[in-house]
Amino acid sequence: MNRNNIWIHISIAVVLITLAAVLGQIRLWENSLRASRTVSDNLRKTGAPPPPPPLRSFDSAEPEVLVRFKPGVSVSDIKRIAVGKNDLLKDEFESVGGLVEIDDLDNADPETTANQYAAMSDLVEYAQPNYQINLEPDEFNTGSPRDGVYRTISDAPNDPLFNEQWSASNRGQDGGKENADIGALHAWAKTKGSDKIVVAVLDTGVDYTQKDLVANMWSRPDAVPEYSDDELGTIDDIHGFDADADAGDPMDDNGHGTHCAGIIGAEGNNGIGISGINWNVSIMPLKFLGKGGFGSTGNAIKAINYAIDRKQHGVNVRVINASWGSTQYSRALEDAIRAAGEQGILFVAAAGNNGSNNDRSAHYPSNFDLPNVISVAALDRTDTLASFSNYGVKTVHIAAPGRDIVSTWLGDAFREASGTSMAAPQVSGVAALVLASEPKLTMTKLRERLLSTVDKVDSLQGKIASGGRVCAANALGMKD
């Protein structure tokens, strides 16, 4: 055999192997489709369930996928498709039609499982892995409360740490820039908030017993039924919802969510700690981030689904605060946030802390191009974009104080923290304050109001869309 013949034979072999691989994959897809169709067809024709899958112990750490089925595929069909693949329908996100969480009992790689569902393209719109993040440490140190130095300010609340709250009233203290704040003092002349406005804090939970928060925590009214979900059962959601534990106790075991909650609505003028932007408000704790401050996208969606359900049952959820994120895109999360918007819920998201341009390198959920999303960058006390803050003239909408922010913490403590995590609740808080004054304002108008009434900041021009810092006084139609 001469050299030319060798290359011809090798080329033919490569082509044949490639063809065989493609045909094999197509057959797998066909089998998968046939199996799912057979399940549905059998049910329609005979009502008989398919043979039971091999018995496997259920473990919450099983690999999971998020699958959105196309319209017309019923829940019972989905259950049977899952059973036919030795999977389990774990939860249905009722707010997003067709979106479900599926446990893979075979312990396959989540990406492989997601690809198998995605291949059922006549039934499935999309499928993605839902990675479980389960590891958590044993102990937690709350850190040291910061000592406040009280200095008298006329018309200020009597909360002893108010002087440290440069975000509410910046008079140049501690090297700050005068009036580089959200104009809270002026705004409070018009309204100090209302407990009729419910702000969901989607986070590590909230310490609902914290002495400066307890008066402003949401509790499920008697007229609202307990949370009921086909897969999760009935949950006594008296204080909110824990999507990680599928339980009704969203107690914070980290501190981050409690900090965000205090910025929005620590009780004002009660002689304790700080003053929230809203002296009165209803904070609904939703827990999906664990003790370490991280959690799964699937549980975030589950918690959003809960908030939507409560809204549909008459709870006046107007804002969801999301002081978290990642660079990883999830279409399922985007759909859930869109569904919240369709219920008139504003979704305020931290822009992220990588010091990078979100126009070039996206951060989610803040980058979702949805009509109910506001992306928030962080400022320091000199009105300078914080060095850690993400920005983006197309994708980051507004800025707010986010460095050295004092707020509530676990164990009745107070402490400073920095991040776009602390900036987002400033905007959520101002949103709630505006709604207290104008409760019928639509979500769309509210968003427009917040973005169109910023205090312009030179250093933000060309950096973020509005070019300014959120201003409560302006948003309420007052001169700050």
């Binding site: 370490g292 991280f294 990642s326 990883q328 999830s330 992220g352």
Partner: protein, 92 residues
Amino acid sequence: MGFTKEDVTAAAKQDLADRLGVDEGSVEELSVTGREFPDMSLGAPADGEMSAQMIATGWEIKLGAEGKTYEYRGDKYQLRLVDFDGRNYVIK
């Protein structure tokens, strides 16, 4: 109390040894440095993970083994392996 610097450093060395299948004594501690991270995933999110966007303090642990350098990040809550074959992992 949560994890200490010594806890996470020891756990990192053990994890790397197990992962590479080498004796723990052959894993060299190159540096352990206190630093700030951009979020509560210590700037190293695992697949599908969301994290609180609050500046977090912890330690950057550089280890050497088989001629390569590996990076772990830890704080009082957790230990993570960074960019190992292109992915981040939550170890503890």
